[in-house]
């Protein structure tokens, strides 16, 4: 899709109103929102090259790592942003922080399904066990961890699937649309940072991604551009991000799905633009979702461009 200057202006103005006071997250939802905003901001910088996004991300994270009592969910979910900050600045503090986080992650108690359970072995597995931690875990393993625990990452996804997926319809009925969307996003983000030569790991996560997409389709959960409702936009935009990225990475067939996904994305953006900047006030998750979907939608999709740049997301 082409760049939308009007939407970009709204997004830039909206995020300028946001401060990520990490030590002051009131609850779990706020942590998720802030993490998503940081990751989304790094994605926006990569596509629109507006320095504001880079500064916002780097400065916010700098405050995180300087504060000893970091918020765990925030940190793992902001994983992409942490790696981005390290890439952009070369500041070893980010790498050290990433490695410390990873060390803490690997020491975490696991529940009976084998997923990380925080401090509570009795904790039931949920989709959040995937989207909170696994993209960070995989990214760490690929870049700094020697890839020793690759098979553990895919096992965690398989455990989450086994615990939460409805065998009959293939959906995750006990989870909200947003949780399912974040779960899909986590899978495609994990696949993106998986090293190619360990193909069976990539294929293991891709299989769950495709299976979940197929169930959403068959059960009518995707909808169409015409059916979009305002109260669905946050979850829908995260899902659109995941599916557009899935098309680009050839996890699902572009030929069949990309056109309708683009229509839905455009419709969602139109609905937001109609309300202006006000729509994002105090709706950080919606802002993050919009940024994620927008950055993905304007990404160059032809192989000759992104495939021929070294180190791009060039999976087949």
């Amino acid at each position: 899709m082409k760049r939308d200057k009007e939407l970009e202006k709204i997004l830039a103005e909206s995020i300028k109103d946001v401060t990520i006071n990490l030590h002051e997250s009131k609850n779990y939802e706020e942590q998720i929102e802030k993490s998503a905003l940081l990751s989304a901001s790094s994605k926006m910088y990569r596509e629109v090259k507006d320095d504001f996004y880079k500064i916002f991300t780097v400065n916010s994270l700098s405050a995180i790592i300087e504060n000893a009592s970091f918020q765990e969910v925030l940190s793992y979910m902001a994983g992409e942003a942490l790696f981005f900050a390290y890439d952009q600045t070369g500041d070893e503090r980010y790498k050290n922080f990433i490695c410390e986080l990873a060390e803490k992650l690997l020491k975490k108690t696991r529940n009976s399904d084998g997923v990380f359970a925080g401090n509570d072995e009795a904790k039931e597995t949920d989709l959040s066990d995937a989207y909170e931690k696994l993209p960070f875990y995989m990214n760490y393993e690929t870049k700094f961890g020697g890839k020793e625990h690759y098979s553990d990452v895919v096992k965690q996804y398989q455990a989450v699937r086994a615990a939460k997926r409805c065998e009959k319809c293939g959906l995750y009925n006990n989870n909200s649309d947003l949780e399912v969307a974040l779960y899909m996003a986590s899978m495609i983000d994990t696949m993106e940072v998986t090293d190619q030569p360990v193909y069976e790991i990539f294929a293991g996560v891709k299989e769950i991604f495709k299976e979940t997409f197929a169930a959403l389709k068959e059960q009518g959960k995707l909808g169409t551009a015409e059916e979009l409702k305002e109260d669905q936009l946050t979850a829908k935009l995260v899902l659109l991000y995941a599916l557009l990225k899935g098309c680009r990475m050839k996890a699902i067939l572009s030929e069949k799905y990309e056109e309708e996904l683009n229509r839905m994305t455009e419709q969602a953006f139109s609905m937001l633009k109609a309300q202006g900047k006000a729509v994002f006030k105090n709706h950080h998750m919606l802002l993050a979702a919009t940024m994620m979907a927008y950055a993905e939608s304007i990404k160059e999709r032809s192989y000759q461009v992104y495939g021929r740049n070294k180190g791009g997301a060039i999976w087949s």
């Binding site: 890839k147 020793e148 098979s151 030569p197 193909y199 069976e200 495939g307 060039i314």
Partner: protein, 518 residues
């Protein structure tokens, strides 16, 4: 001793002088065609060129003053010859001749040949097709460009429209990944012959493909020759050299012959395996010379994703009268053998200056489909091979290669990830100037090698034997002049095994259930 006809095309014949040696004959001999002297030869397998199509020839020999009875060779019928120069190829070492040669290939009718005459023809990728004979004349060189942007890409997988299947084109180290197409490439082709005295030169150096070669740059590096799902393909006589990565890579292809081929890459080049059949059946490698920078022959069947999906081992393979030298392993099985390897026999060969003679590389995690069985080596001379026989079930490859799971000596539960090695036989083998060890054989404690047979084997050590690590596994220490170091085997048969000049015990064994010595 007799002459046997082993191959014939429209313009050539290949004969074997039986019982005359291993790759090289013990004495030089003369070859006659229709009573006229054709050449002197010192090779067991000799090619005769310049014949006419659809013609009968009497080929005879004189060896050590004795006449060897003639063998009749009837060359194949040929309809037309398509000379690539007539299609616009320059052959001047400068112009891009890819299109012109590809045009000739696509226009070639059945029972005909595309002829690349003397000259240097610059190309990127050429694609074969059914019922093709491609002949490289003497002093013809297909010389590859090295700019990667000139090469098309073979996508790893393309999903079917109904989303139930995938179409695999590219392959890299056992996985379906985007790869540049090979310099000479065949996809779904049948009945192809590549023949002649000419050369395919990848022109690779550390300034291009071998630079930073572990990193994917747009796509993974091309092979020099890659065939995917092809049948009845013969490569005869030509020289292939300076390959960007694995030189000859037949992949999910059957009924293949490699006869009197010369495969050459510098000893310090990266991943330039000579011949890597992967998930192939019915493969003959005869009279071939291989000197490369990695394993000379590496027999494979993919990593775990491909193995589980397609379950296609490499099987029914014969390697005869070949010379393997200078590489890491003369004949290697692995490490990508997740679908197994069976019924592979190496006979009447010479190995020189390689790190290892036979090398089996496997590890926990290759999977239960990774079964190696009925692999034999017979009538082989090895000289200056660091360690003639290595079976390593703890090969520290892949990201988790150095973890406890892969490296532990303690038996682990046998599960879906456990590979197995059944029967390995080594017979009538002379290994002189060994250095590190005669044999270093390690099965898995939980899945021991079923039966390992050494029969009529002589080991002698170099006077100034070098020290080294026999096997790439965590527990293997550097050593020199070790005998047979064997572990985790059900039945070890030793018949007439002579180990001369090793330091320490001739046999060092651990967890071997039964040793049968004669």
């Amino acid at each position: 001793m007799e002459l046997k006809l082993v191959n014939v095309t429209g313009r050539s014949a290949v004969v074997e002088l039986t019982e005359s040696g291993k790759y090289y004959t013990e004495k030089q001999f003369e070859i006659y065609v229709n009573g006229n002297k054709y050449m002197d030869s010192d090779k067991v397998i000799t090619s005769i060129y310049g014949l006419n199509p659809d013609t009968e020839y009497q080929i005879s020999a004189v060896y050590d003053g004795k006449n060897i009875d003639a063998v009749t060779a009837k060359t194949n019928y040929e309809y037309v010859t398509l000379n690539v120069r007539d299609f616009g190829a320059y052959g001047d070492g400068e112009h891009d001749d890819t299109n012109a040669i590809q045009c000739a290939i696509m226009a070639c009718p059945k029972d005909s040949r595309v002829l690349v005459p003397e000259g240097v023809f610059k190309i990127s990728s050429l694609f074969l097709k059914d019922d093709l004979t491609l002949e490289l004349a003497k002093d013809a060189v297909l010389s590859a460009f090295t700019e990667r942007e000139k090469f098309p890409i073979l996508p790893g997988t393309i999903e079917s429209y109904d989303e139930t299947k995938e179409y695999n084109l590219g392959s890299w180290e056992g996985n379906p990944l985007d790869t540049f197409s090979a310099i000479l490439c065949g996809i779904n082709c049948n009945n192809v012959v590549i023949t002649g005295e000419g050369t395919i030169d990848g022109c690779t150096s550390f300034e291009n493909w071998w630079d930073n070669c572990k990193i994917r740059d747009i796509a993974w590096r091309p092979r020099l020759f890659f065939i995917n799902h092809c049948n009845h393909v013969t490569m005869h006589g030509i020289t292939v050299q300076n390959s960007p990565s694995w030189t000859i890579h037949p992949y999910f292809s059957n009924h293949l012959k490699f006869i009197d081929v010369k495969i050459k890459n510098p000893a310090n080049s990266h991943n330039t395996d000579g011949l890597d059949p992967e998930s192939c059946q019915d493969v003959l490698v005869l009279g071939t010379y291989i000197s490369v920078g990695d394993d000379c022959i590496a027999i494979k069947s993919g990593k775990i994703y491909m193995a589980q999906k397609y379950q296609t081992p490499t099987s029914n393979m014969i390697v005869r009268q070949c010379c393997m030298r200078d590489g890491h392993g003369a004949v290697t099985v692995g490490s990508e053998i997740a679908a197994g390897v069976k019924d592979v026999h190496i006979k009447d060969c010479i190995f020189m200056n390689t790190d290892r003679g036979l090398r089996v590389k496997t590890r926990r995690g290759r999977g239960k489909l990774s079964v190696l069985d009925d692999i034999s080596f017979e009538n082989i001379d090895m000289d200056n091979v660091m360690t003639p026989f290595v079976v390593n079930s703890f090969y520290f490859c892949d990201p988790d290669g150095k973890t406890e799971y892969v490296g532990t000596n303690q038996p682990l539960p046998v599960d879906d990830r456990t590979p197995s090695i059944k029967r390995l036989t080594f017979k009538d083998i002379k290994a002189t100037n060994c250095h590190v060890a005669g044999a270093y054989i390690c099965g898995l404690p939980e899945s021991k090698i079923d039966r390992l047979t050494f029969e009529n084997i002589d080991f002698d050590y170099a006077k100034e034997a070098k020290s080294g690590v026999a096997a790439m596994m965590l527990a293997c220490k550097e050593g020199s002049k070790q005998g047979l170091v064997v572990s985790n085997i059900n039945e070890l048969v030793l018949k007439n095994v002579n180990i001369n000049g090793c330091d320490g015990d001739a046999i060092v064994q651990d967890n071997v259930d039964q040793i049968i010595q004669e």
